[in-house]
């Protein structure tokens, strides 16, 4: 099965191995034909209108503004509805450095996103600490704090790279099992089990 989005030719994607792996997982798990068809329909809708959370800490956020403006125009792809409240957003683009003081706030924002939720680590700071690797007050990559779906490298990534990254996310959404899959909170529960918060009983 060739998974693509926005009419982009399958061969033009740079990394198809992971999506083929996901397709294989999906096929191996096996669902009945009715549920499978509904999954496909719902995923088609979901993947074409993913709403971002307005969240930016530094430089990458300005490129995200450019992405919203007329030249790069993310409205073409159905992502332009940037929400200020996490409860109304589908994914969070972590545009910028996450520092010690921001970590609890960031984690709370993630917890407030409605399921199913996705995280894109945008820029080298969010991926690994980037240029601030030697700092005493920077979290070295957000992967230890929340699960990440897509990484967009760059410092800051160009708006084109951001478009490619969000398209990868939308491709990923297409091959998800919705019923009994992402519409359940299992993913988050698993993650919380692996990263317990002391004193908080979820």
């Amino acid at each position: 099965m060739e998974v693509t989005t926005k009419g982009m030719p399958y061969e033009a994607w740079k990394d198809n191995e992971y999506i083929e792996k996901l397709v294989k997982e999906l096929q191996d798990s096996g669902v009945n034909v009715v549920v499978g068809s509904f999954d496909k329909l719902i995923n088609w809708g979901r993947s074409n209108s993913i709403w971002p959370l307005t969240f930016a800490t530094s430089c990458c956020g300005i490129e995200f503004v450019s992405l919203g403006a007329a030249r790069y125009d993310m409205a073409r792809f159905g992502w332009e509805v940037a929400r200020a409240s996490p409860r109304q957003a589908d994914f969070m683009m972590v545009a910028g450095t996450i520092v010690h003081r921001m970590v609890p706030v960031f984690r709370r924002l993630y917890d407030q996103l409605a399921e199913p939720k996705y995280v894109i680590a945008c820029g080298s700071c969010a991926i690994s600490g980037g240029p601030f690797k030697k700092s005493y007050h920077v979290a070295m990559g957000i992967e230890d704090i929340v699960p990440v779906d897509v990484f967009i490298p760059g410092c800051p990534p160009r708006p084109e790279a951001m478009i490619y990254g969000i398209m990868q996310l939308s491709r990923k959404i297409k091959v998800e099992k919705f019923f009994g899959g992402v519409n359940r909170q299992e993913k988050q529960e698993e993650f919380l089990k692996a990263h317990p918060v002391a004193g908080v009983n979820d």
Partner: protein, 544 residues
Amino acid sequence: MSNIREKISTVLPEAVIEDGEIMQVTVPDAKWHDFAKTLRDDRELSFDFLVTIVGMDWKENGMGCIYYFASTRHNSRISVKVMAGGDRERPLIHSIHDLWAIATVFEREVYDFFGIIFINNPDMRRLFLNIDWKGFPLRKDYDENPDINPVSIENERQTDFTDVWTETPDGKVEKHERRIFQPDDFVVNIGPQHPATHGVLRFRTAVDGEIIKKIDIYLGYIHRGVEKICEKDTYPQTLHFMDRLDYFSAHPYHHCLCMLIEEAAGIEISRRAQVIRVLMDELSRIASHCLFIGTYCMDLGATTMLFYTLRVREQILDIMERTCGARMTFNYDCIGGVMQDLHPDFVKDVHALLDVLPANIKEYNKIFTGNVIARNRMENVGVLTRKDAISWAVTGPNGRGSGWACDVRKCNPYSIYSELEFDEVVREECDSMARFKVRMDEMVQSARIIAQLIDNIPEGDYCVKVPKVLKLPVGHWFKTVEGCRGTFGIYLESDGGTMPYRLKIAPPCLPAAAVVDHITEGQKIADLITIGGSLDYIVPDIDR
């Protein structure tokens, strides 16, 4: 200079005066507060603008602060060095918060980084780091082991109290607790995740109905410790952090550090490189003001403006991208000149920009500036008087909107600015509208500078030869430039090695954010967005 010297030696005979580009006076802490009062109030001195306070740790030689002052009347500058009393466990200096309003925040910053306690400062809390942070990061013996201060997803401890250290008549220093808000205050939390705070800034706002009583500004949500990282990098490596402070002023900030290092190392750069640097500075000023106008109008509800202003900004970014190879973090200025020569189409592209700019500015004014809603929301809102602007050290377009002619390009010209013809835009209305209009007019002046230079870019090397391993002589230097948001200063101290002993960044946005409490007092909460937007602070620049 000589009469300042005479004056100081009559006022305080024990002061040690050291000449240089900026005179440095060493004052004992016991006499410091009285001397500071003379510095500010004496007519011949009248140093009414506190540029920055540089905290220092000279290891076994003790700790202390270097204060940089400027006089708006005489256009002179001076620095004062005060050694901290007490021991390393508890270094003490007397506060000057009652003389310069901005000192309260600057002293908090020094306390946060060095643990120097300022006696009588009404708010001796940490500024950027958590209450429970262990150690003072900019001290030379700070232990950076991540296990001591781990990343935690637990909410940090918050308190409504702050410390005040006072001195009893017999010289004993005591600590007291003071409430930040009154017990019956209703405190609303705005930020750090809020679309109108322009980044991760947090205001703890005490309100009485709709009226703001007090704002406690809570910083550090993007504090990245740039000053400490710079101490671990060689001089060419420190440059690229300047891109990531105020990412709109990447070129001017780079320019500042490059000039500083070149001055210290005695490197003379070519005329061509100077012209290219100034051209880039002014292009980024236009791009920055464009984005300001777009986002500010968006804050006020006029989303359309963002699309209009970003059109010009994208055109400028294209020009820069062709020459510098990046859209935002250019890393273009380097020690000795610039990284690469100009793109062959540079002159043509800039001419195309200059052709469309006047029509665009006219269009912005037509859409927004005269609009009755915009005028009602901006005129007489957030008034900052000239006296307060100087006391709070609010420079740049914000200061000039308050009638303070503080443009570094005019009062301490650097590079080739003294040869160029342009007007300093100053407005007397002191409100949000004035700050908005100053930026609008500055775009015209920047275009004027570019027009003078673009057809006369001299031939020559774009970069001179610089030793591969760059060592600076022992000494200290301070340089300011006009960034897109105000006076940006860097203090550099070298111990003769390949890395800075101390690199202090004095950003223009910290005073701009600190003054929000003062401006908004008694205003409506809806105006907080107007006022905050008009000050145009960039949070990574505040926090560094």
